[in-house]
Symmetry: C2
Subunit: 304 residues, 2 copies
């Protein structure tokens, strides 16, 4: 099959062997697959994820079975050596190739537009962050970083009726999108303000300490941004303010299903998140575009 | 009055002016006052607490009013310039002197042995940490650092019926005391173990990252140890494990009162915490002894 392959720290388009389903698995054809910021990180630092050899990435996919069912699935496989992450595995190629092998028990059938269905995975990350934050109506939310994860957080905060949702991003385009997704205003933290629930969806060194410095007393910080580097904080400031920092990752199966349902019922507004569509040949250029955040939010790959 | 005075980064015993009560305040005679690790920090780094000029420290006190009532109180005063911390103030001397001025509305009368009553304040810090951690029966606790705060945490975990309570400290004497206070075993974190609620009561740089590295997935870390220096952590590890870090400080008025009640009813066991009694002249030496943690846990000052 045709695929974009991570090979020795570079992304190349090549022909690779078709994956072969094992017991309980099924061969599917990729219809649409989102490019995730984690894939950009992985390309820069494959060692951090303990990846080597050829990898076909892509874990935000909508696919079609051979008998014509349109499906989404959590990107997990249970291979002979135990659980593996589809799209970060030598055995289980992700959606940057024409074909994938998925676990039949994890498939969720959907009638959604495949471009929207492919957003299930990144949107579920936002729902999980909102759930883990234990935010309730009456509490104020502040979202730092309005890339796909920050926007997903905003969408599910809005669904929950949280008000106000205040958003921050360096990019004017992303700030505009945050308002479109349900944020009430663009703003900044105020150390003298009311306690709030702060979502960190930037993931660069220094962000945590900036938030610790500027957060109102007794705020909760939900850290959804993936920062690969060591980071320095001032614990004394966090202690004085009695801050809470909650690190979150991924989602639970019920959150993945709830996200698909929310997209299907139109409970969350994802219009405008997809800012580009490319074929397999366009993936390397799309990775470069995504490194410039004012240009793109979510780019989808359509392999066929 | 006679007092141990923090003056230009040193502790000297001297005669100072008697404090004078303002409206709503009352003059009391100090009976017993604990020496707190924070006072050791303050002596080393008065600038970090924004202290200058003569300071009579001591905020863990039991005192007697002129009409013979034995009282404890949260170490807070409401002076003409707003709230001040008794014992960290130029206006409100703490219990390292013979006399103090306290807010009448905050006094709690007690029949407890003054040496035990003086433990109300540090024990309340432990109760607050336990309350803020939201730990419930059925969850496992791990306490790092068995100084007065770690021991107070252990005592209130034991009161709550938490099991097991696992303790760790470099000092054999403090480990023994942890077991006497209610810890079930001495141990270490195991990254492959069950999630647990971890209390950090050491407060030295590097502890947080060690805990992040060794904590089981989805553990909660309650940070009660005061670390004045910047500290480096690996957020990616905390994210992978979905850890929660909760920074805590002090206590609420109801927790202070609950602690006094728990001490009075014998619900917590504090036998053996007090490892020394000194007069005002003995305070400078006691500070030195407390810097060597295998020698002392809590030293009380009895000014008269």
């Amino acid at each position: 099959m045709r695929a974009a392959v991570m090979r020795e720290g570079r992304l190349v388009v090549d022909d690779v062997l078709d994956p072969v389903p094992g017991p309980g698995e099924i061969l599917v054809r990729t219809i649409a697959c989102g490019i995730c910021g984690s894939d950009l990180h992985a390309l820069q630092r494959p060692d951090a994820l303990e990846l080597s050899g050829d990898i076909v990435m892509g874990h935000e996919f909508c696919a079609e079975t051979e008998d014509g069912r349109r499906v989404v699935s959590m990107p997990i496989a249970f291979g002979p050596d135990g659980p593996e992450a589809v799209g970060y595995s030598n055995r289980y190629p992700g959606g940057y190739g024409e074909l994938m092998v998925l676990n039949e028990a994890l498939l969720l059938e959907t009638a959604l537009d495949p471009r929207m269905a492919a957003l299930t995975e990144p949107m579920a990350v936002g729902l999980h962050a909102v759930n883990r934050s234990r935010i309730e109506r009456g509490e104020r939310a502040m979202v730092f970083g309005c890339g796909p994860i920050g926007l997903a957080v905003i969408a599910f905060l809005a669904r929950k009726g949280i008000e106000p949702i205040v958003a921050a991003d360096l990019s004017p385009r992303r700030r505009e999108m945050a308002l479109a997704m349900g944020a009430h205003e663009i703003g900044a933290l105020n150390p003298d303000g009311y306690p709030c629930v702060i979502f960190e969806a930037v993931g660069v060194p220094g962000m945590l300490d900036t938030i610790i410095r500027d957060a109102p007393r007794r705020s909760r910080v939900c850290v959804a941004g993936v920062c690969m580097d060591p980071d320095t904080i001032h614990p004394m400031t966090a202690i004085r303010k009695e801050l809470e920092m909650q690190f979150v990752l991924g989602y639970e199966p019920d959150e993945f299903a709830d996200t698909l349902r929310a997209l299907t019922e139109g409970e969350v507004n994802v219009d405008g998140i997809v800012t580009g569509i490319v074929g397999i040949d366009g993936i390397p250029d799309a990775f470069e575009a995504l490194a410039r955040p004012d240009e793109a939010v979510k780019i989808l790959v359509e392999p066929s």
